[in-house]
């Protein structure tokens, strides 16, 4: 766990659409694979890194995002839905949706609804939003690692 590297990322990165059009097929395949890894990392926190055998990062992402969602739901934070109404509700929805499959787990588990009248519920809302944004960051990191830009 002390050293982690991306696999299959020794080729030069594709930096623009023009480069993408003129790159060999195997590099375009790498780009498609990188996108698939990014999407997988969004859907299941840590999966993007696990697919690249970055076990420490995969476990770290899964546990931290999972813990934030667990605590957010337990504190009865607001799990936003698509019919939030105003712009802030929509922003909250996008942030919550960043947790991928955990968003649906949070909605299913919060049977009593949110309680933002108290500080715990307000903190829970922030925990859930932070989990989503953190997972999006992790998915982007997995995508970049798959492209060979950083690991």
């Amino acid at each position: 766990m002390s050293e982690e590297t991306a696999v299959g990322t020794t080729d030069a990165p594709i930096t623009s659409q023009a480069d993408f059009a003129t790159t060999p097929a195997h590099q375009q395949g790498n780009e498609a694979l990188a996108i698939a890894i990014g999407v997988a990392g969004w859907l299941v926190p840590g999966l993007g890194h696990a697919l690249q055998k970055m076990w420490g990062r995969a476990l770290g992402c899964f546990l931290t995002v999972g813990a934030l969602v667990f605590l957010g739901v337990g504190m009865r934070g607001n799990v936003f839905s698509s019919d939030g109404g105003d712009a802030f509700g929509m922003l909250g929805y996008v942030a919550d949706l960043g947790t991928g499959s955990f968003y649906f787990a949070a909605r299913a588990l919060e049977t009593q609804g949110s309680d933002v009248a108290h500080a715990e519920g307000d903190y829970g809302t922030r925990f859930l939003a932070a989990a989503g944004v953190l997972n999006l960051l992790a998915a982007l990191h997995a995508y970049e690692a798959a492209r060979g830009r950083k690991a």
Binding site: R57, L68, L134, L137
Partner: protein, 64 residues
């Protein structure tokens, strides 16, 4: 069920938990070696708490 358990945390406990989880995630994402990760996590957690408590103290005169 999780929702039936519920958590009742103080402001400081919530802030500390949040800071710890975010620090761990940042440490794992930004550092490769375990020793570097531990250093980063401790330093990041310390700064989270220091700045959080500092902002709390700065807002104290306006709380009443």
């Amino acid at each position: 069920m999780i929702a039936t358990i519920g958590f009742t945390l103080t402001h400081f406990q919530a802030m500390t938990l949040f800071a710890l989880l975010i620090s761990v995630a940042f440490g794992f994402l930004s550092r490769r070696r375990t020793s570097d990760r531990v250093k980063y996590i401790i330093w990041s957690l310390f700064l989270f708490l220091l700045i959080g408590v500092g902002i709390g103290w700065a807002m104290y005169p306006f709380s009443r």
